[in-house]
Symmetry: C2
């Protein structure tokens, strides 16, 4: 079974908003053994929507479209669907009642503009919206089962789970695809690719591919089997082989983040960490606490963005900063060592650097960062030169990842 | 002029990676007056790539494709382009020399696998890669000027600026589109839509549309004019009118974030802020320091995730936590007031709440958050009930935005 996704919204096609709905839906479909082979994005244009819907109805078994079901004048999906189906729109009384109930529960009058959201093409099925106003629309058309969902991610996700997943289950037949992904850090993609080249042959099952995103290189294993057990076994065999070849470069799997991997190792070893951040300004602590249950190993962190804050909160001697500069090996070490002592943790991470785009000099260019990792035996400091052309956001992101990876390797005894 | 974008990569079409290249390219094209009307994503499948390229060559004036130019076996774009052009691939000596130079500069031997990256269809033009290994490919085909760029965002962006933008400039003719976007916080989309319904008529110039993303509602004004000056004037007139109608709900424009808007107001008033974070775990400080120049108003922050840390770093009485719980109005107030005093700032923001997915109770459910804002005249505490079904990440994101907006309104005297 093949699925196409259609994302509708001028804000998407002109690049104002990054579409997270299509990736989320593709993942859910893959879990069900439905392969997503094409994603299309068009603007709030009735003709463009209708053309894309019509093409998908001929080429795919399933079409899931998102967006354009809101109450404003640029929400045109329902009209385009009616065009494609050759059906007229009519108020669906159950949907109108649900809309009225939504506003009543919030003690607000229903704006007249929301009434249009109860318009459904005759013959199509409305899909209930558990957390918003726009009902979805379901209709079969030519080859495809078509689903039109709201664009607001929380509403879309709930509607997929409640209304779409049950309708798709049972249509997926016997052959099962299992997807298993490993995430690596620290090996260049071409080196990694050479080490697993034999597993990446296009005609092989499982199909193995790599993708790089901001220093993390992921290895995707898609295994097809006569049933789920066989597919899982094939995927697990490849995963084991890749882990054996790449060693500690593999930090996690199935979407696990570096922060989650670090948290898992901290919990397993009963150890704790604290943070002292300058250039990352709270990002390392934020990443650590992205993880539910992080209170088991993270209790406190310092954001010492100003020199004065480094002295006041972390007792970094003003004289040390004056001599070496705030962006220096010495200050990174002092921050980490004191943070560890003040916090009573097994480890402390420190960051100090020039995130740019301004503030760089010939001697200390944008992208120069010192990472400290204090442990019971001392403090390792790593100098990073991330490049003057990298954006501020990327410098901070990479610094945080490299800091977490430094802690990860320490927890692995490396 | 109309452009289509094509994103190539199995990791994209199966939803493992969110595509940020297409939005970035669409924005750059819009700035040049080239309207992006369609984005397509396909996997690493030679036939699917060729079909999509061929369709775009008939329907668009410009096609920009990204991805599939890497050195591994699943990088098939160059082969698909050769199929569409009916041309064979040949080693481009200049590209091979650039590849060799790339590795020599890094004192590494060039892996044999990278050699394939110098293969260019005969008759096509290679595009230099300033920061990576894969050269791009440029060729005219039927209606379209086609450009194939690497998928790694930093390489793609540099190649667009250096190689694509100069080739597109001058092709864009007279009519100019200017895009102006306003960002709002705090008004529901339907209420906002009713207040500017007359401006949102589909046949009107400028074209005005709205989109919602995680509490921020953006209003997009696309103005067409005979020249840039006319388009800019039309867009500015609409922006002024919308600002007049929506008042302080409009916090910024042209991609400005809440943190940037807050930073602008802090700088203008010469005021400073510090942070004391529990449930957001550093996110508010991170958002503030996302902004280049934030050292002008932000010097330090505390991440007090554990109760003990609240007492140790912020002198919140253990007895107060025991009596009211860490997630309480009283603790939020104590955190903010002490943070402000310890930091010597004009304002201090505090957060304490239950970000979930675990830790909620009937009395204090997931999504219950207290935000504190200490000022010279006292401390305001706001209770948020963000809903038990919201994901941890969304609860933290909304808490950080609502905290920044509270500070923004205070800076506006509200």
């Amino acid at each position: 079974m093949q699925a196409h996704l259609l994302s509708i919204g001028t804000e998407l096609v002109i690049g104002q908003t990054v579409d997270t709905n299509a990736p989320w839906l593709a993942q859910r479909l893959a879990e069900m053994g439905i392969e997503c082979t094409r994603q299309v994005t068009v603007g709030d244009d009735r003709q463009a929507i209708a053309t894309a819907v019509s093409a998908a109805a001929d080429e795919a078994d399933v079409l899931i479209a998102t967006g354009g079901l809101g109450p404003t004048l640029d929400d045109l999906t329902r009209f385009a669907v009616a065009d494609v189906l050759g059906a007229e729109l009519a108020i669906d009384e159950a949907s109108l009642a649900a809309l009225a109930a939504f506003f009543a529960a919030r003690r607000r009058a229903m704006p007249e503009a929301n009434r249009v959201q109860a318009l459904i093409p005759r013959g199509a099925t409305p899909l209930a919206n558990a957390c918003g106003t726009a009902p979805g629309i379901h209709a079969p058309h030519r080859r495809a089962a078509m689903f039109f969902l709201p664009g607001v991610p929380s509403e879309m996700r709930a509607m997929f789970e409640n209304e779409v997943r049950p309708r798709l289950a049972g249509r997926t037949g016997g052959r099962t695809i299992v997807q298993h992904t490993l995430h690596t850090f620290g090996l260049p993609e071409s080196v990694l690719g050479e080490q697993i080249a034999d597993l990446m042959r296009p005609d092989r099952n499982p199909h193995v591919g790599t993708s790089a995103a901001d220093l993390v290189i992921s290895i995707r294993i898609n295994a097809a089997g006569a049933d789920a057990a066989e597919a899982r076994r094939l995927a697990a065999e490849d995963a084991d082989e890749i882990r054996r070849r790449l060693g500690s470069a593999v930090f996690g799997e199935q979407g696990e983040t570096l922060a989650e991997a670090v948290g898992r190792l901290l919990l397993a070893s009963g150890r704790t960490v604290s943070t002292a951040e300058s250039c990352t300004g709270g990002l390392v602590a934020k990443r650590l606490t992205d993880v539910s249950g992080s209170s088991g190993y993270f209790g406190q962190g310092f954001v010492t963005y100003a020199n004065e804050a480094k002295t006041r909160l972390l007792a970094v001697p003003a004289e040390l900063i004056a001599r070496h500069g705030a962006v220096s090996r010495e200050v990174a070490e002092a921050m980490a060592v004191t943070c560890r002592r003040f916090s009573g943790t097994d480890y402390a991470i420190s960051t100090t650097g020039i995130a740019g785009p301004t503030g760089g000099t010939a001697e200390k260019p944008v992208g120069l960062v010192y990472l400290g990792l204090a442990t019971e035996t001392g403090c390792a400091v790593r100098e990073l030169r991330l490049g003057e052309t990298l954006a501020r956001e990327a410098i901070r992101d990479r610094t945080a990842k490299l800091a977490l990876n430094l802690l990860r390797l320490a927890l692995l005894g490396q």
